[in-house]
């Protein structure tokens, strides 16, 4: 029995369907990421898990108990909000212990919890301050401390890092990962940031339009995206996708043959697809003496690597090459890649072509 079980959850407001049947099983200690563009229903799903919203249909089980109609306080969960939602009228210590106080935990135990949590998060020196006197990062820590104080069976995070600046975000991301590793509490984490999703999650559910496009490990999601949407949503710069059709020796786009492995060729042959989409991650492309010809139309050096946008006969391609690039804008180059790095999708359904890798 999983720590969290979401069974056929639907949610509609009037005749707008926000969630169209979500099924997820989360094992104890697992870190699940819900990721997707705005309006995909990820926050609604999190609110339903928290009990702040009710599903129109379906069930939520936490720790083997049906909590679909339970109040938020009876679910043994803690949540970190995007805006932190610290109580402005209470100091940090009171914020952390408010949940314990509401559950009639004796004062001595509350003090112990404050000490334990503040030590873990290194906020001991802030206990007497009001939230208004804290920086963004400190507020974030206090919000996590409030969630940690109760030792919940389930942690919920609603885009907790999106209000922080880039540097702090990376720090706090590492800290959350570290805390989860130490505490091993089952966690559901909503984000729209694919880097957070890839770095933090044991499992990732990529959502779009109220359905789960793909649920799997970060490696599954990245190496074997189940659909064109997942392929383009995860990974930066996004995957290059070109359209084409079956050709005599496999696959061609705009009259140019593109390499396929034997397995891919068989899969394309078996698929009943009208057209095929051929996807290549930017890091799969490299400069070579021969291959797909192209001219450089944009250079974006990031330091450790350079993003190169090229005009090729099959369309614009983004390549991600290590280090500096000595070529100039407008230079003609050739692109090469391994056939096994290609991702094939049905042009009509935009699903991955079965057996293609």
């Amino acid at each position: 029995m999983g720590a969290l079980s979401i069974r056929n959850v639907r949610r509609s407001y009037g005749n707008v369907d926000i969630l169209k049947g979500i099924d997820i099983e989360v094992e104890a200690g697992d870190f699940l990421i819900l990721v997707g563009p705005s309006g995909c229903g990820k926050s609604t799903l999190l609110n339903i898990i928290a009990g702040l919203d009710k599903p129109t249909e379906g069930e939520i089980h936490i720790d083997g108990r049906d909590v679909t109609h339970a109040l938020p306080k009876d679910r043994d969960i803690a949540m970190v909000f995007q805006s932190y939602a610290l109580y402005p009228n209470m100091n940090v210590a009171q914020n952390i212990s408010f949940g314990l106080e509401m559950r009639n935990v004796p004062k001595a135990e509350r003090e112990a919890a404050i000490q334990r949590v503040s030590k873990m998060l290194q906020i001991e020196h802030l206990l007497d301050r009001k939230p208004g006197q804290l920086s963004g990062g400190q507020r974030q820590r206090v919000a996590m401390g409030r969630a940690l104080a109760r030792n919940p069976t389930l942690f919920l995070f609603d885009e907790p890092l999106s209000n922080l600046d880039a540097k702090l975000r990376v720090e706090m991301r590492a800290e959350i990962k570290h805390l989860h590793h130490k505490a091993q509490v089952t966690t559901v984490y909503v984000t729209h940031d694919q880097v957070e999703a890839m770095t933090l999650g044991d499992h990732i559910a990529v959502m779009k339009g109220g359905v789960i496009e793909q649920l799997g490990s970060p490696d599954d999601i990245y190496s074997r995206p189940a659909s064109r949407f997942v392929a383009e949503f995860i990974g930066s710069p996004a995957m290059n996708i070109v359209d084409g059709e079956r050709a005599a020796n496999g696959f061609a786009s705009h009259g140019i043959d593109l390499a396929l492995t034997d397995a891919q060729r068989a899969a394309v042959g078996n698929a009943h697809a009208e057209g095929i989409l051929y996807g290549l991650r930017p890091e799969a492309l490299s400069f070579a003496d021969a291959g797909l010809p192209g001219t450089i139309s944009l250079l974006e050096p990031t330091g450790p690597e350079t993003y190169v946008l090229l005009d090729t006969p099959i369309g614009k391609m983004m390549a991600r090459v290590p280090g500096k690039v000595h070529q100039q804008l407008g230079d003609a180059v050739h692109l090469a890649w391994q056939a096994r790095d290609a991702h094939l999708f049905d042009a009509k359904t935009e699903r991955r072509v079965a057996g293609s890798g």
Binding site: G51, L52, K73, M79, A85, Y87, F98, G99, M102, R146
Partner: protein, 290 residues
């Protein structure tokens, strides 16, 4: 030398601004000046007819007469009993209407339910409803409740009449508080009332001060409800003042009338001076909150 000359340069804008402001201040303060000086004069000086002159031998005789032995109709006990009636009426009426407004605002902003917006719209209607409309039905209801012509009936009327504005104030203020505070408190295990008392009320100081001042001023200054719904010994200060000023005797004692008017007006003045800084802060609080 030119930089030093700059401050002494004549500034027409500033002069115009100050002139206009001082003029308006004088216009507003002049009646107050006349009231205060007249109340400190004796009848001898008043009869000389110079409204703006300072009292030659200032005394509080008129004040003490207005307070304790001026005639209001056939009684000659001054304003004191009316003043006390008003105090006994205004304190529960202000506190209860403010508290109920806070609870209403809390429900209408943070615990919305099907139809809550309609209820809010209907309550808003109450803000614009003329007071006269409710006179007859209200006296009927007070009669049924056995509260007619009593101070408690008057308190009830003021609470009900004030609910529309107090609800509006608190609702609009609470809309600006993040919903996530309530959600976080729900997850922390707090219920409806604990969230209200522990989270919402401590954040309500500015709007509470605004509402208290608003309600105090309205209820203290009310004349219509006071004269319609009060009984013989439950008349508020405004009715007392009216009776005092309209009681005809051989001589019209302007100094006593002015002192009585000052007595009737001082409590609201006092409230504004004590809490005025919160009043301005509260009115603008909604505007600066992100």
């Amino acid at each position: 030398m030119s930089p030093a000359a700059a401050p002494s340069r004549f500034d027409w804008h500033r002069l115009a601004l100050w002139s206009v402001l001082l003029l308006f201040a004088a216009v507003f303060l002049l009646p107050m000046y006349v009231m205060v000086t007249t109340s400190l004069k004796d009848m001898e000086q008043i009869r000389q007819g110079n409204l703006l002159s300072l009292p030659t031998s200032p005394s509080f005789d008129a004040w003490s007469k207005a307070w304790s032995h001026a005639c209001t109709g056939v009684d000659c006990g001054g304003l004191k009993p009316f003043f006390m009636n008003s105090v006994v009426m205004v304190i529960p009426a202000v506190l209860i209407s403010t508290l109920l407004g806070a609870i209403n605002g809390y429900v209408l902003s943070k615990w919305r339910f099907r139809g809550s917006e309609v209820i809010f719209a209907l309550m808003l209607f109450g803000v614009f409803m003329p007071m006269q409309v409710v006179l007859l039905p209200m006296s009927q209801v007070l009669g049924w409740l056995g509260m007619a012509s009593s101070l408690w009936g008057l308190v009830a009327v003021h609470i009900i009449a004030g609910l529309a504005s107090t609800t509006l104030f608190f609702r609009n203020y609470y809309v600006g508080l993040p919903d996530e505070l309530v959600k976080a408190a729900m997850l922390d295990g707090a219920g409806f009332w604990r969230i209200f008392w522990r989270i919402i009320v401590p954040l309500s100081t500015p709007i509470t001060v605004v509402t208290l001042i608003w309600q105090f001023t309205n209820i203290w200054n009310d004349f219509l409800y006071g004269i319609v719904f009060s009984g013989a010994d439950s008349k508020p200060i405004t009715v007392g003042l009216n009776n005092l000023a309209n009681t005809t005797s051989s001589v019209k004692e302007y100094n006593v009338d002015m002192a009585a008017a000052m007595i009737a007006g001082l409590p609201t003045l006092f409230v504004y001076i004590v809490a005025g800084k919160y009043f301005v802060r509260g009115l603008t609080a909604g505007a600066v909150k992100g």
